[in-house]
């Protein structure tokens, strides 16, 4: 019987044919080819680009994602067999990536609005444009407006002038590194009777105005937006009889964690520690001070897990904690006492039970399956490990917090890859730093999604302060707080410990009327001077809208009103309808023409288009 000698395979496989590009974008190309053949067996293909081997694949398809826009690439596919023989090179496929699309042109700030009824902006259909922005990209005015709305309370004209044409990264840097300062040009708020400047310690209304005033005048508004985010997150309501001094201290603490310029290392871990062991308002609101060894009270521990750090379920739908975990965490949190005695020098101080065993449960507790004599923070009492850290290291925490921060700024859900990278930045070195996460979110291309048709609702506080800034209206007395009450969001008074529901719930038939009514109030504050120097009605410094000329056209009326509202975004079809309204409004008397101005401004700033940013 003849023995077959094993002959080494030296035969090359054939060249793949029909190498084609199936899909092309500025940064990726999909290549396909027809399968080749070999005397033994083909085991795969090599993709060569620009003379270098990129990858080896088994199938007849490859998506190359590492491309740059506006470039030319040469691809060669070579077949591979089991013995390592490669096919010859074959003819190269030349692929050109398109340039990155420009964002749609900026809305002109002045000038006659479109006269074509029902027209929409040409080019990209509304709601679909996401310019693939990298941080180096320069900003159009629409992009500047977008960042000032999402990270602030809307743009003022000087801010548009400063930032249009500059890179996104510069403005993000500004938000994260520019120190807190208030614009002195905006009039300071006064009380209802115009009698004196406001004092947050005196009445509820003044307490609210004090914060709104800072929001309106902040040169770097991100601090206030973040502070308010933390207020929604670590929700405390003064409706439960919490002293205003505690509330202001709480607010200032939150502001510290929102001021990423002054505190670039601001950490969620520190915030959690302060809320648990230092904050008088939180101690009172969630009855942490009543949580003692003999009478444990789970209120704070439950919310700590459910609302503040973990959420009930993780991304995969699994429960993150059990009732036992809540009970044991409550035991770990026992012993933090609050001095609530008015007049005492230590009023508002939270301190640990001394000796520890009087009020603190020093026994062993099991949290997430690990048993130790857990306490809130490490070493208090001596030898105790930190239960707060035990919660923060739970795998559900980082994604929970990153998602929540993301959805504060961006509507579309966070892409998986972005979530992973922000979680990594957040948890790096166990620091739970907030600045990298905020920077990553503000720099992400999705913050510019739907630029020509804004798609995020303005919460009442943002809407109010934004309208104040747009009109340059002052704050006074009870006006702002009443407006926020009708819109169902009063600072320091969230409806429950979960904060405000937000989203679609901001808009119902009552609150839409309230938003319109808010603009009317602001118009009054801006334009109704006091009838006499000592009068308590009207606002000192207000001036009536000047009488428009008798021959003012509808288009001119709309242009004047639009500019007075700081040229906000409006859909083209909305502009067309406003023009129609202006054209049919009576104009025979000066009163009529002034009324037309008021009505246009109210419709522009208080209508449906003004509720999105």
């Amino acid at each position: 019987m003849a023995v077959l000698r094993r002959v080494r395979d030296r035969v090359r496989p054939s060249v793949p044919t029909r190498v084609r590009v199936r899909g092309i974008t500025p940064t990726q190309a999909t290549l396909t080819w027809r399968a080749a053949h070999d005397n033994r067996a083909v085991v795969g293909y090599e993709v060569w680009r620009g003379g270098r081997r990129v990858v080896r694949v088994r199938g007849t398809r490859y998506v190359d994602r590492a491309l740059k826009p506006g470039r030319t690439y040469r691809y060669v596919i070579r077949t591979l067999d089991a013995a390592g023989n490669r096919s010859r090179a074959g003819r190269a496929l030349v692929v050109k990536t398109p340039p990155a699309p420009r964002p749609t042109p900026a809305t002109p700030t002045t000038g006659p609005p479109s006269t074509a009824p029902g027209s929409t902006s040409g080019g990209t259909p509304p709601g679909t444009s996401i310019p693939p922005v990298t941080p180096a990209r320069v900003m159009t005015q629409a992009m500047v407006d977008r960042l000032f709305w999402r990270a602030g309370f809307g743009p003022a004209e000087p801010e548009r002038a400063t930032w249009t044409g500059r890179p996104v990264a510069d403005l993000v840097d500004f938000f994260l590194t520019s120190p807190q300062a208030l614009d002195p040009a905006v009039p300071a708020p006064v009380t209802s009777t115009n009698a004196r400047p406001i004092d947050p310690l005196v009445t509820r209304e003044e307490g609210v105005i004090e914060w709104l005033d800072t929001m309106q005048r902040a040169r770097n508004p991100l601090t206030e937006r973040l502070a308010f985010f933390w207020h929604q997150h670590w929700a405390v309501s003064r409706n439960d009889g919490i002293p205003i001094e505690f509330v202001l201290t709480y607010r200032n603490r939150l502001r510290r964690f929102g001021d990423l310029a002054a505190n670039p290392g601001a950490s969620f871990r520190d915030l959690a520690i302060e809320m648990t062991t230092q904050d008088a308002a939180m101690s009172l609101f969630l009855t942490g001070y009543q949580n003692t060894k003999s009478k444990p009270n789970e209120n704070y521990a439950r919310e700590f897990m459910e609302l503040f750090c973990l959420g009930v379920r993780d991304g995969a739908g699994n429960e993150t904690y059990t009732q036992e975990d809540v009970t044991e965490l409550a035991r770990a949190f026992t012993g933090w006492r609050l001095n609530n005695t008015v007049g005492s020098p230590a009023f508002g101080t939270v301190s640990f039970s001394s000796p520890a065993s009087t009020y603190h449960d020093t026994g062993s507790k099991t949290i997430f399956g690990q048993t130790a004599n857990w306490a809130a923070i490490a070493g208090t009492p001596s030898g105790a490990p930190s239960a707060i850290d035990q919660v923060l290291t739970h795998p559900a925490h980082a994604p929970f917090l990153v998602r929540k921060l993301w959805s504060q700024f961006i509507v579309s859900p966070i892409p998986d890859a972005t979530l992973a990278s922000l979680v990594a930045a957040y948890t790096a070195s166990g620091a739970y730093r907030l600045a990298p996460v905020v920077r990553g979110i503000l720099s992400h291309p999705l913050i510019f999604e739907s630029l020509d048709e804004p798609n995020m609702i303005k919460p009442p506080v943002v809407f109010l302060v934004g309208a104040q800034r747009a009109l340059g209206a002052p704050m006074k007395g009870t006006y702002q707080r009443d407006a926020l009450s009708n819109m169902q969001q009063i600072p320091y008074e969230p409806p429950n410990v979960a904060g405000w529901e937000g989203g679609l719930s901001w808009l119902n038939t009552n609150t839409t009327q309230a938003r319109f009514d808010t603009v009317l109030r602001l118009l009054m504050l801006k334009h109704k001077p006091p009838p006499s120097p000592t009068s308590s009605t009207g606002f000192p410094g207000a001036a009536a809208i000047p009488d428009p000329p008798a021959d003012e056209t509808a288009a001119q009326a709309v242009a004047t009103a639009y500019a007075a509202c700081t040229s906000p975004w409006l859909a083209d079809a909305t502009r067309a309808r406003l023009l129609g309204f202006a054209a049919t409004h009576p104009v025979t008397t000066a009163t009529n023409r002034v009324q037309r101005q008021y009505a246009l401004r109210a419709l522009i700033l208080g209508g449906p288009d003004a509720q999105v940013m």
């Binding site: 609702i457 009327q513 109210a602 209508g607």
Partner: protein, 517 residues
């Protein structure tokens, strides 16, 4: 300009609980917009006295008499105006369709502060130990800082009603001729005993989260679903063209009646003013003519279309449009009540009364309404419970009694059952703030002359040996109550309405497992 919203609290005054507010949002459908807005003619709420033939049901004829309000319709397709009222009339068989009114108390109503150990209860001492400051003294009126209770008839002193639930004649302090005691009667099976109570109804394992628990109660099972249990019943037994078959008296739809296919609607109980610019309110001197046509213009702006995936802008525009539509409603709610019935008034009680008055009106109008949902909030009593919960208990008991009398006067009471529940109970022991924390085993009530009145679920007891982790044992699965309502009362096709399969029947104290006579 006044708006129908909660007034801001006075300076430094007592904390003002925001009752009709975000706490109720958990029960509302928030991720779906109405398909259309349906004007409700005044004559429809009057029962269409001018006729129910196709000639009288035209849009022009019906709207001639004025509009009483607007319904936000949720359905899979837009329906024609006349199509709707023809279907409504066709569905309204004059006799005996059984109707269900669902009253949801939002926040986790403390059941142990409603039905508690009575004078002869073996666990009275344990109850007192668990609630040293807020316990209710048996068989006394409330006085001098101590709150009282009255024994429930037919329980041999084992159980008592909290005083605020009991009528004046019964020795309670709800300030009304009606109370749970008058509805309950002697607790036997016979006529006059028209209230059944289940002291610890809930699901296990208990979750204690407002958000999850309320979702489960509305879904009818232990999952968050996109349809409600009553919505599923409507999909199987209801009309494809009559949104008035199931109504939420609210600004948005209740999750309980959310359907997959058939139309349902939400009717807010308060009329609104729309968008007006009265001179003097915005900077024009008073006396200047009011700016005309702001509502009209706002309707125009609301009609601009937005892209399909821009949920918020679409919502903004459609809500502005709805606000214009709701404005200028003709008949005010005060004209809808049967004037003889003494519903409780004042403060937050008025909200509940208004909703129940509109419910009675709708049920009597013969428009095919089978299910009505009413939500009322403010029961999450973590602190100073007696001050906050007792006034609400007064309002609920008085309103339920007035509602029954109202329905009787309209001649429809025998076909209406009211189901009252909350998303969980509260812990047996008080916390350190004179309140209670989330717990298990809430109180369920069924009220109506068709209900087999009495003690319909085991009382778990509050001795430490009977508690589970400090919470009341759950002695009734809420799904069993739903099942009884479906099979004994609503009837029809109930297959698959409850997602977790057929639950065990309830076990009554006096024996038997039915809830209806």
């Amino acid at each position: 300009m006044t708006l129908p919203t909660s007034a801001p609290p006075p300076d430094g005054g007592a904390p003002n609980r925001c009752i009709p507010c975000e706490e109720l949002e958990l029960a509302r459908v928030r991720d779906e917009r109405p398909t259309q807005t349906l004007p409700l003619p005044v004559s429809a709420l009057e029962g269409l006295p001018e006729g129910r033939d196709s000639g009288s049901l035209t849009r022009r004829r019906l709207l001639q008499g004025g509009v009483a309000g607007f319904a936000a319709v949720y359905g899979s397709r837009a329906l024609g105006f006349e199509e709707i009222f023809e279907a409504a009339v066709a569905q309204a068989v004059p006799s005996s369709q059984n109707r269900l009114v669902v009253l949801y108390l939002a926040g986790g109503n403390d059941s142990l502060n409603c039905v508690l150990p009575g004078t002869a209860a073996p666990d009275l001492a344990a109850y007192r130990t668990a609630r040293p400051t807020i316990w209710r003294r048996p068989n006394v009126a409330s006085a001098a800082g101590a709150v009282g209770s009255r024994d429930i008839a037919g329980t041999s002193g084992r159980l008592a009603w909290a005083n605020p639930l009991v009528s004046t004649a019964g020795g309670g302090d709800n300030g009304s001729a009606f109370g749970l005691d008058t509805l309950y009667g002697d607790g036997g099976d016979g006529p006059g005993s028209d209230l059944a109570f289940l002291p610890a109804a809930d699901y296990t394992p208990s979750n204690f989260s407002h958000f999850d628990s309320s979702d489960y109660w509305f879904a009818g099972g232990l999952a968050s679903l996109t349809t409600g249990w009553l919505g599923r019943w409507i999909d199987r037994n209801g009309s494809a063209t009559n949104p008035l078959q199931a109504v939420s008296i609210d600004t948005a739809l209740s999750k309980a009646i959310r359907t997959a296919v058939n139309p349902v609607c939400a009717i807010p109980s308060v009329s609104a003013l729309g968008f007006t610019m009265n001179a003097g309110s915005y900077g024009m001197p008073p006396g200047a003519p009011s700016t005309a046509n702001i509502n009209t213009e706002m309707r125009e702006l609301a009609a601009v279309t937005a892209s399909a995936d821009n949920t918020y802008l679409r919502r903004s525009r459609s809500t502005y449009g709805l606000a214009v539509d709701v404005a200028g409603s003709g008949a005010t709610i005060s004209g809808l009540a049967n004037a003889t019935e003494a519903y409780p008034t004042g403060g937050s009680a008025q909200t509940l009364s208004t909703k129940l008055q509109l419910t009675a009106k709708l049920l009597a109008a013969g428009l095919g309404t089978r299910i009505v949902t009413v939500h009322w909030g403010g029961f999450d009593t973590h602190g100073t419970q007696v001050a906050t919960q007792d006034p609400q208990l007064r309002a609920v008991s008085a309103a339920l009694g007035a509602f029954k009398a109202d329905l009787t006067a309209r001649g429809i009471e025998q076909n209406v059952t009211t189901l009252v529940f909350s998303e969980f109970g509260r812990r047996a022991g008080e916390n350190g703030s004179l309140g209670t924390d989330h717990g298990a085993g809430g109180l369920m009530l069924l009220s109506g002359s068709a209900v087999r009145g009495g003690w319909a679920g085991e009382f778990p007891g509050c001795a430490p040996a009977n508690l589970v982790g400090g919470n009341l044992q759950v002695t009734t699965d809420f799904r069993s109550v739903y099942q009884a309502v479906l099979s004994e009362w609503l009837g029809g096709d109930t297959t698959g309405v409850l997602p977790d399969g057929t639950p065990a029947p309830i076990v009554r104290a006096g024996g038997g497992s039915t809830l209806f006579k």
